[in-house]
């Protein structure tokens, strides 16, 4: 796409954009951080989100958005370096530590986070959260996975089908 310089106000202070959550809370962040979202990047490049108007995000509530932005602000410097081949090991270790802490959160927040990351197309965050959920379900039986993820209990037909499959794949349960 176009080069990042195409925006205005590129003198001294970083350019800020305003994001508006579904419950009408306004968040002012650096454009570089918000641009981690592929969805927002286009709008920002077109000069949107600056000044008073802001970018409305009707699918993301304020609690989730603040979490998303926490991630973006932390990762923006590294991303600006273009995947950061020259980042030091210390920097990378610090980011890794941050990531581990970051996903150590309540499951419901995790789900809204993965949806927000998906909608906003923030690749790193999406991957981070998906990995966390994958870690939560690995080693669990199908029933345990259902409970972990809050599925409703299976209907009798569903249960019968699961049982049939389990017979076939008995080794998967040991």
């Amino acid at each position: 796409m176009a080069a990042p310089e195409s925006g205005d106000g590129n003198n001294g202070a970083a350019r800020m954009v305003t994001l508006i959550s579904s419950d009408n809370t306004r968040f002012e962040v650096e454009a570089a951080a918000a641009s981690l979202s592929q969805t927002l990047q286009l709008t920002i490049l077109d000069g949107g989100g600056g000044g008073g108007d802001g970018i409305p995000l009707p699918n993301v509530d304020s609690a989730t958005l603040s979490k998303v932005l926490e991630y973006c602000i932390k990762h923006a410097p590294a991303a600006a370096n273009g995947g950061a081949p020259n980042a030091t090991a210390v920097d990378r270790a610090e980011l890794e530590r941050f990531d581990n802490e970051f996903v150590n959160i309540d499951q419901s927040v995790l789900y809204s986070l993965i949806m927000a990351a998906h909608n906003l197309e923030i690749e790193g965050l999406q991957s981070l959260v998906a990995k966390k959920v994958a870690d939560m379900i690995k080693g669990k039986s199908p029933m345990e996975i259902r409970r972990t993820l809050g599925f409703p209990d299976p209907t009798p037909e569903e249960q019968a089908e699961m049982n049939a499959h389990m017979l076939e794949y008995g080794w998967a349960y040991e």
Binding site: A134, K138, L149, M166
Partner: protein, 755 residues
């Protein structure tokens, strides 16, 4: 809103893609959560994305070449290859075993099992066992269980005679296939053999699954390369296969270029203990080399310039920092290398460890505990194969409980066989009534009554009486060569003429007349020796009477080098084990019994005083120099509880036990030191010391030395200093050459049970 409902198909996809590839079961369990997930996971798109995300296929496990649990249970199962999973316990193909499908083939009946030779790109190459009976190769895909039986190689020149090796790989070159999932694609098998006799040298043939036939034989342009190939793992690096290759007495590396099909040699690093290394890939994608010495893992890489090859040490890894401390109680051995992953597989008495040579990550992948009956690691093919065996189960009842109860200490020494000869043998083709010219008599160590009541063959003075008639010439007597694991190995005298060997079990009185060795090797000239051992690798040898056994024969080549052949009671035939033109060139194999130390047999060489080591695991022979001024005719090899090699010698009424410093790394310039000195004057009765005592034999397993002093036998325990005199009698009327101890349990077989 239910959280689960909130997860759209896209999000579920993102999550499930990140399940660990080395645990395939987790994907299956996830697929069973609901119909939508099942559809998703079974879709081709998901599989493609899963591979694309994870890139490197995981090492699912390795193939273990096993010696079977109980060979008597089924004729078809003496050897087999089992898949040892590295996955979490609930794994997809854990411990799957290769079972040939084409039951109609006529050759199946003769095959006693299968051995994995090589594995690459998701396929495994197996060869039928035992070697040399039926030459069948099969390519097996353990995931899909597809099997392809390869046609037999043309028999001229004999492709197997001088050693061979083979490798399997995807038929598409690295550039055009990423080998992430080429399971159902085309493959090829490269066979490399050597033919010394007809001046052909190295040759190769390629099997292509597309054409279904072997290619024409392609001989090496450089026919200076000849020697011995062994079936062991090779590596694929930059479109070339690399094999270890024994050129007369030293190793070189053989390079087979897959595109030009040319064979060339690469010199080994000078001064490296060449038995104990493994070819690997190097960090920069070239050829590498790994070896373990003094608990350090050495990694070297090869710089392949057009003019020469240079080896540089790229890494030294201290295994103490990587492995659990107790894992290093036994010397670690390299057993395999997964070339796609840069993962080395290391075996210690503690189990199998996978070491990533790049990240130095270590994972314990499997248990492999000798004590648990898993036996010894034998050999490997990458991802790896190791030969393990399991203990056979003895018969039920009192006999078993009796043996279990006496598990420690080991079986008792019931007595020994005393090799005598009467008068002086001047002419080999002598007169009749020479039956007792050479005789091996049993001398029980216990007091006279007890063992004789138990078994007639264990009476004082009892001798071996052959049941089957002789093949050529009536032997003039029998001499016991060796005894181990309850069996006695005897050969007829004079050996050059009668050429007969018998394995005899005095407890059961079973006798096995061995077939003759191939006569073109002149096996009995320049001295020979042989050892008998139980053929069940995982056996605890407490009671292996009636089980399979092996005989290892060591003789001289006509030119002076040494060779070893092995007889297996399972195949009923002799097979070539190893040979060397330079080892033991001037020595003559002495007839005193050899000892077995961690799967290697040691024999004494006379004239050029050395010890000959015949390693059954690596199938190689080497020599160990004895200290100066030691007369090899007057020593007896012994072993220690710790599994070390010693020898015993009597000088000036003292019993000296010599030990070797770090037996492993000073093969030729071995350094010996006096480990223990036992003053016999304080131990033996004074009247027995009128002449210097002679050391006659050593009872392996019970640690007893048998001495002869003043025409009496004494059994000495060098450790405790205990001495026991053996009751007189049994060995009269002859000159004693040596003695062969017999160790076994002997529970009485009562003909009539009390009602």
């Amino acid at each position: 809103m239910e959280p689960a409902a909130a997860l759209t198909a896209d999000l579920v996809d993102e999550i499930l893609l990140r399940l660990p590839p080395h645990d395939p079961a987790s994907l299956v369990r996830a697929a069973l959560v609901c119909k939508a997930w099942l559809r998703l996971v079974s879709g081709a798109g998901f599989r493609r994305r899963f591979r694309a995300l994870h890139r490197t296929p995981p090492m699912l496990g390795f193939l273990c070449n096993l010696q079977d649990d109980d060979p008597r249970s089924s004729t078809n199962a003496a050897h087999n290859t089992r898949f040892v999973s590295c996955l979490p316990s609930s794994s997809i193909i854990s411990h799957r075993r290769f079972v040939p499908k084409s039951s109609a083939s006529s050759w199946r009946r003769c095959v006693r099992g299968w051995r994995a030779i090589d594995a690459r790109h998701g396929r495994v190459l197996l060869h039928s066992m035992p070697w040399g009976i039926i030459q069948k190769m099969v390519v097996w895909d353990p995931i899909t269980d597809e099997q392809t039986e390869l046609p037999e190689l043309p028999q001229r020149p004999d492709p197997y005679h001088w050693g061979w090796n083979a490798a399997v790989m995807c038929a598409v070159d690295d550039g055009r296939c990423d080998h992430l999932d080429c399971h159902r694609g085309l493959f090829r098998v490269v066979f490399v053999g050597c033919c010394v006799s007809s001046g052909i040298g190295m040759f190769s043939r390629v099997y292509s699954s597309e054409s279904g036939v072997w290619s024409e034989q392609l001989t090496s342009a450089n026919n200076n390369i000849y020697g011995c190939l062994r079936v062991e793992p090779c590596v694929l690096v930059r479109n070339a296969l690399y094999f270890r290759f024994k050129h007369v007495s030293y190793y070189i590396i053989l390079k087979y270029d897959l595109s030009s099909r040319q064979i060339s040699g690469i010199p080994m690093i000078p001064g490296v203990d060449t038995e104990e290394f493994m070819l690997t890939g190097s960090e920069d994608g070239g050829l590498g080399f790994a070896g373990v010495e003094d608990s350090k893992l050495y990694l070297l890489s090869n710089e392949d310039t057009t003019s020469h090859h240079r080896w540089t040490q790229s890494r030294v890894i201290n295994l103490w920092t990587l492995l659990p401390v107790d894992a290093l109680a036994t010397t670690p051995r390299l057993v395999g290398f997964a070339d796609a992953l840069s993962v080395l597989i290391l075996w210690t008495g503690h189990g199998f460890f996978a070491i990533n040579t790049k990240s130095l990550e270590v994972i314990k992948i499997a248990e492999g505990n000798r004590e648990e009956g898993s036996g010894t690691v034998y050999n490997s093919a990458p991802p790896s194969s190791a030969r393990l065996g399991t203990a056979s189960s003895p018969d039920a009842g009192f006999h078993r409980r009796f043996i279990e109860f006496h598990r420690r200490p080991p079986p008792p020494m019931l007595g020994f066989l005393c090799n005598l000869h009467n008068g002086t043998a001047t002419s080999v083709v002598a007169a009749a009534n020479a039956d007792d010219y050479f005789v091996s008599r049993f001398i029980p160590t216990s007091s006279s009554s007890s063992s004789s009541s138990c078994n007639p063959h264990l009476r004082r003075g009892a001798r071996f009486v052959p049941k089957s008639p002789s093949r050529h010439h009536r032997p003039r007597g029998w001499r016991a060569l060796d005894s181990r694991h309850g069996r006695v190995l005897l050969h007829s005298l004079p050996s050059k003429i009668t050429r007969e060997m018998v394995v005899w079990d005095p407890v059961t009185d079973e006798q096995f007349l061995l077939p003759e060795l191939p006569s073109e090797t002149y096996p009995y000239w320049h001295g020979f020796n042989a050892a008998v051992l139980c053929g069940d690798h995982g056996c605890n040898h407490l009671d292996c009477h009636g089980g399979p056994f092996n005989v290892v024969f060591v003789g001289s080549l006509p030119q002076g080098g040494k060779f070893a052949s092995v007889y297996s009671s399972e195949t009923g035939g002799w097979s070539y084990l190893t040979s060397s033109m330079t080892i033991g060139l001037y020595g003559c194999v002495a007839g005193t019994p050899g000892v077995l130390v961690s799967n290697a047999l040691y024999f004494v060489l006379e004239e050029d005083p050395k010890i000959l080591k015949c390693d059954l695991t690596t199938r190689s022979i080497s020599e160990i120099k004895l200290p100066d001024k030691v007369d090899s005719r007057k020593i007896v090899l012994i072993t220690t509880e710790e599994g070390g090699l010693r020898f015993a010698q009597v000088r000036h009424s003292k019993l000296y036990l010599w030990a070797m410093q770090d037996s492993h790394y000073y093969n030729d310039g071995a350094r010996w030191f006096e480990d223990r000195v036992v003053d016999l004057e304080t131990l033996l009765p004074t009247d027995a010391l009128s002449m210097s005592p002679r050391v006659m034999g050593f009872a392996d397993g019970v640690g007893l030395v048998i001495l002869r002093a003043d025409d009496r036998f004494f059994v000495v325990n060098p450790k405790s200093g205990q001495v026991k005199e053996i009751e007189e009698g049994g060995a009269e009327g002859g000159t004693i050459r040596n003695v062969v101890p017999y160790i076994s349990f002997c529970t009485p077989v009562l003909r009539y049970s009390l009602a």
